[in-house]
């Protein structure tokens, strides 16, 4: 019998107390699709598992005045079924829904995917491109952070001891906005992204891009927000020339590694390809809104 403990707090306050008392030895369990694999492989550190799924706030999706609040432990299947978010932020939903199989979708969450700290997390580029923020609870109370400031490197986050992500906030979109997330995997399902690219953009009345954010996954130690790729299309009609510039800027931002999933050259090139393709889809969606 191991000494691993389990707790299932019913409120954010209770969760913070348990996490703070554990002095960094507790691991937060949301969907468990990464944590349990680590546990099974003997790679999980810590002596306590804190299941946050019984805290109502972490499991709910709320329409606010100026956007949506999505609980950190909401599963992919639950988010996928939310019509209003699908309409407003299809790229964000695509990202979460691309993680793993139908079975994984029943469990995997935005919070878990972000805090696992993987550079290849599928839902993170979409959140970054969307300009999403997250609400973090901790011993010092609540704070808000941009999503792009959470992951510092593989397996490392900016969360302090006792802190955990409670929810994400997606702002209401202006008219003529669209986003899209694309990833490359060798198969059609069940793989970790070799490259991920998300583009969110807004057009003005004459079809010129007024705002854009571009984010890439799996091409650097952490998910990237690529300002140069965004500025390549801002002020343009997102024509072929602008898209080529965006593609080049995306590739230029890459700092990938060679591993079992892809090579440096491959990731660099495909990041440009996917950024362009994602921008094209986002553009179509913006024109339709």
């Amino acid at each position: 019998m191991s000494d691993l403990q389990f707790s299932s707090p019913k409120s954010v306050k209770e969760a913070v107390e348990i996490l703070s008392a554990s002095k960094g030895k507790a691991r937060v369990l949301a969907g468990g699709t990464d944590l349990l694999v680590q546990l099974r492989a003997g790679r999980m550190s810590g002596s306590m598992i804190v299941d946050i799924k019984n805290i109502p706030e972490l499991r709910s999706i709320k329409k606010e005045k100026n956007g949506f609040t999505i609980g950190a432990a909401v599963s992919g299947a639950e988010l996928g079924a939310h019509k209003a978010i699908n309409k407003a932020w299809p790229g964000v939903v695509e990202g979460l829904e691309l993680i793993g199989s139908t079975q994984i979708q029943g469990r995997a969450s935005l919070g878990g995917n972000l805090c696992n700290g993987s550079p290849a997390a599928d839902s993170v580029p979409g959140l970054i491109a969307a300009g999403a923020t997250c609400k973090i609870a901790g011993p010092k109370g609540l704070r808000t952070s941009k999503v792009e400031d959470i992951v510092l490197g593989p397996g490392k986050t900016s969360l302090k001891t006792g802190e955990f992500v409670v929810s994400f906030f997606l702002p209401t979109r202006p008219k003529r906005s669209g986003d899209a997330y694309l990833r490359f995997i060798p198969r059609t399902e069940m793989d970790i992204a070799v490259v991920g690219a998300s583009v969110s953009l807004t057009l003005d009345k004459v079809g010129v891009c007024s705002e854009a954010r571009v984010s890439l996954g799996a091409v650097a130690p952490k998910p990237l927000l690529v300002a140069k790729a965004a500025s390549a299309i801002i002020g343009t009609k997102v024509d072929d020339e602008a898209l080529t510039e965006l593609s080049l800027a995306a590739s230029a931002a890459c700092d990938p590694i060679d591993d079992k999933r892809g090579t440096v050259e491959y990731r660099t090139k495909v990041a440009g390809v996917l950024a362009r393709r994602a921008a094209t889809i986002a553009l179509e969606r913006a024109r339709g809104n």
């Binding site: 299932s8 694999v37 598992i49 199989s101 139908t102 069940m190």
Partner: protein, 158 residues
């Protein structure tokens, strides 16, 4: 430390078991409750052989802790047939020869049932993507996809 006492409903019947934190619900089903129909092929959520539903949602039993299932409703392969009356999906797996060795079959049947509950009329592509988390190394999937789609047609009354 002591084990946790977990109370659940499995295939419609109350079921209680004791488990340690690190035991997955798959371990609990197989080792504590003797329900060995759910199979362990990878213990990392990559093969789907341990597919069950948890409060109606399709999951891999190897990626859920036993302690997480307190108060939850679990359905396993053992609960798919009604006594000796097979579910249409089970019948079509037999008719279409959709199994060879049979180790992946329980997971496929549980996953297929969840698919048809959500989408009674799936296309071939929808069926293939829904079942992408269930690996079969024997059949090449052909006859499995056919069996699921034929079962769907039968269940729709066609």
């Amino acid at each position: 430390m002591a084990k946790y006492h977990v109370k659940t409903t499995i295939n419609g019947d109350p079921a209680e078991f004791l488990c340690g934190t690190e035991q997955t619900v798959l371990d609990c089903l197989r080792d504590e409750l003797g329900l060995t129909g759910s199979k362990e092929g990878c213990s990392s959520g990559d093969c789907g052989a341990c597919s069950i539903t948890l409060d109606g949602r399709l999951v891999c039993a190897c990626l859920v802790l036993g302690v997480e299932t307190e108060g939850k409703d679990i359905e396993t392969i053992e609960g798919i047939a009604d006594g000796d009356d097979l579910h249409p999906i089970q019948k079509h797996f037999l008719q279409e020869a959709a199994l060879q060795c049979g180790i992946c079959t329980p997971g496929f049947i549980v996953a297929a049932k969840a698919l048809l509950a959500e989408n009674p009329n799936p296309t071939e592509t929808e069926t293939r993507y829904w079942l992408a988390g269930n690996l079969c190394r024997c059949t090449g999937y052909d006859k499995i996809v056919t069996a699921v789609m034929n079962a769907a047609a039968e269940m729709r009354g066609e």
